[in-house]
């Protein structure tokens, strides 16, 4: 799960510089918000809520609880790929009124965390919302609102609403300050016409760091997902597995940010904060090079890693393992 981000970030960096400058200029001109604006936002959200709420569902799988949203009368459901984990998975679905049904996962895009599922057929049409086909409109500064079942379905609490702003749009995701947590995964982010613009996917530590899958991957891979295909750009299981996350330190050195519990790296004694100097005597200078080097070896191969820990250099031999599969429930 680490490498995709590494790639994503670097590719973005190359194209994004110019627009950043424009944005900063706009920021300085932005007007102050007044009470009327806030009340307008409130009115819009409250008007849309009764229309969109019935399309929100809670999803229970063997692995946990999550959320989803119905986007067609015949019961197509959008959720996050890490919710079913794979195609053909049976999921228990709780509607907003508490009634229970089931759904089966169709295809998913593991690289972007987008997934499609189908609710059990029923005579009555399912309540649904539309999805936004104009992804470009979800620009930074736009108000939006999120629904979901954080922590799982709770009848006395009901669905949880959050109102916030779009902070950033990337190739496949939206970042907002609608605060999310476990159980929200797969739930919908709406624009102010009541269309789905995002599916809750992941969070980082800061409260402004909430990531939603944008409609881009859904629209791009719609047919493949309907055919229950799994889209994996960064194949899980390719190459050897070491189990470290790296960052470029302030001194532009390759530093270990995190070591995954139980990974070959941890067993060999790699610790967060170590600086990676070389692998098999090749000097390591950046993250891509390091990732490529590890990936080019197979599970079972041994790597000779030279590290610097608190000023002292040391060398370790690490036997690579199989990259753990995420979806073997």
């Amino acid at each position: 799960m680490r490498t995709p981000f590494c790639f994503l970030l670097t590719s973005i960096l190359l194209v994004g510089q110019m627009r950043g400058a424009e944005q900063r200029q706009n920021a300085e001109k932005a007007p102050k918000t007044d009470l009327a604006t806030l009340l307008g936002v409130q009115n819009d959200v409250q008007k849309l809520l009764p229309q969109v709420r019935p399309a929100l569902v809670a999803i229970q799988t063997g692995g946990g609880t999550a959320s989803g949203v119905i986007i067609s009368a015949d019961g197509l459901l959008l959720t996050a790929a890490h919710v079913p984990g794979g195609p053909g998975k049976d999921m228990r679905v709780i509607l907003e009124d508490g009634s229970v049904t089931t759904a089966k996962s169709l295809g998913l895009d593991k690289a972007t965390d987008a997934a499609l599922a189908q609710l059990k057929k029923r005579e009555k049409p399912w309540p649904f919302v539309k999805l936004s086909r104009e992804v470009i409109k979800a620009q930074p500064g736009e108000w939006c609102f999120a629904l979901g079942h954080p922590g799982g379905f709770d009848k006395s609490r009901g669905p949880v609403l959050r109102v916030g702003k779009i902070i950033k749009q990337t190739a496949n995701s939206l970042h907002t300050d609608c605060v999310l947590m476990g159980g929200d995964s797969g739930g919908p982010l709406f624009n102010f016409t009541g269309e789905v613009i995002g599916i809750h996917s992941q969070i980082w530590e800061n409260r402004d760091q909430n990531v939603h899958v944008s409609m881009t991957p859904f629209l791009r891979s719609w047919e493949a997902m309907q055919k229950s295909q799994v889209i994996k750009i960064w194949g899980v299981g390719a190459g050897g597995y070491l189990g470290v996350a790296t960052v470029m330190s302030d001194d532009v050195e390759l530093e270990v940010a995190d070591v995954i519990e139980g990974s070959p790296a941890q067993k060999a004694g790699v610790r967060a904060g170590d600086v990676i100097l070389s692998v098999n005597d090749d000097a390591m200078t950046d993250q891509q090079q390091f990732t490529a080097t590890v990936r080019s070896k197979a599970a079972g191969d041994t790597l000779k890693i030279k590290l610097r820990s608190s000023g002292k250099e040391r060398e370790l031999a690490v036997k690579l393992a199989q990259k753990p599969q995420e979806d073997s429930e």
């Binding site: 799982g152 702003k165 902070i167 999310l180 519990e261 139980g262």
Partner: protein, 385 residues
Amino acid sequence: MTNDEIRMTKEAPIPNVESLALNRAGHYSAFELRHSFVIRKFVIRHSACLFLLSSHLALAESPRPTLPPEQRTNGRQTLSAVSPLKPLTLGCTARMESVLGRPICTATIVGADGYLLTKASEVPDLDKARVRFADGRTAALREVHREVRLDLVLAQAVGVTGLRAVSFGAAKPLTLGQWLCSTAEAGREPRIGIVSAQRRRIPGTGAALGIRMDEKTPKEVKGVRIIGIASESPAEIAGLQENDVLLNIAGEAVAQYRRVHELVNKRQPGEIIEVRYLRKDKEETCRVRLASRTKVLQNWEGEDFANGGISLRSDNFPEVLQHDIPLLPTDMGGPVATLEGKIVGINIARVDRVTTFALPVEAFWSEVQKWMQADRHPPKAVLVK
């Protein structure tokens, strides 16, 4: 992150979190279910995040147009909308701090003559706290009334007058999605959010230490052995460790894990108890500040890293308003206002990343007024003939 590890983290708390056997069917399964996802999201993605977080230098170059912090929902420019409310919110708020000046929680001023309301479980001992007003004045506190049921304490700042007291409105008419305004940074800054879920009662789960105990402590061991400590739990904060043997809990000798659970569970979150234990053949004593069992369970593996901390007591309230204002545990006790500046509640618990509970005004104000009345006009002694 392997499935093995997910399984491990899922199972870790199972053996007996201060005797889950008592409650396994109901609460426990719920806990397990909700957790694996949390763990997945936080742990699996956590390392991914480090990439991006640490690459913020790069982000500062703005790879994509990014909304500057001041324009975000709780950024300076957006908050300027609520600055007219400041006298009605921030102006009626004070900071509760330790005698050394460390912020403890926030207080809502309810009487011009120094009466304050704050979150009781955060200040078990008002003698060890003081209040600091917006103008910089500080004062000692006199406890007037402590109401465990509401987790509120009414206190009076000694020798202080001329304060501005809040003006209470009604919380009943609030609807889902309605804006609310509150105070952060111990009453110094405004924050906004919305009513985010239905009003309801929050049942209690009792208090906990955050330990797993050996169910089959060998006969020759007099006491109960600790086999696991929850991250950032009361036990960990007090310095208890794995393999310590509990000998005495709050004055009672213990030999069975069930008894430890009973003794702890019946107490109130925020209460401090004395624990005597054996470590490497040496008897030692520590004082443990208990937390809600819900909090301990939800945070077993330190999942709380993304939450900015949660309150010691986060459950057992007769009625709460839920909102999404980004606050910290030290902001509890402060007022929650509508955009008209009417105070509709008092923040009572930071629960998780997305949840803050506030006591709605109807749940406490008429009672609090009686306490104040009784304190201002104590009944005169009646001469009995």
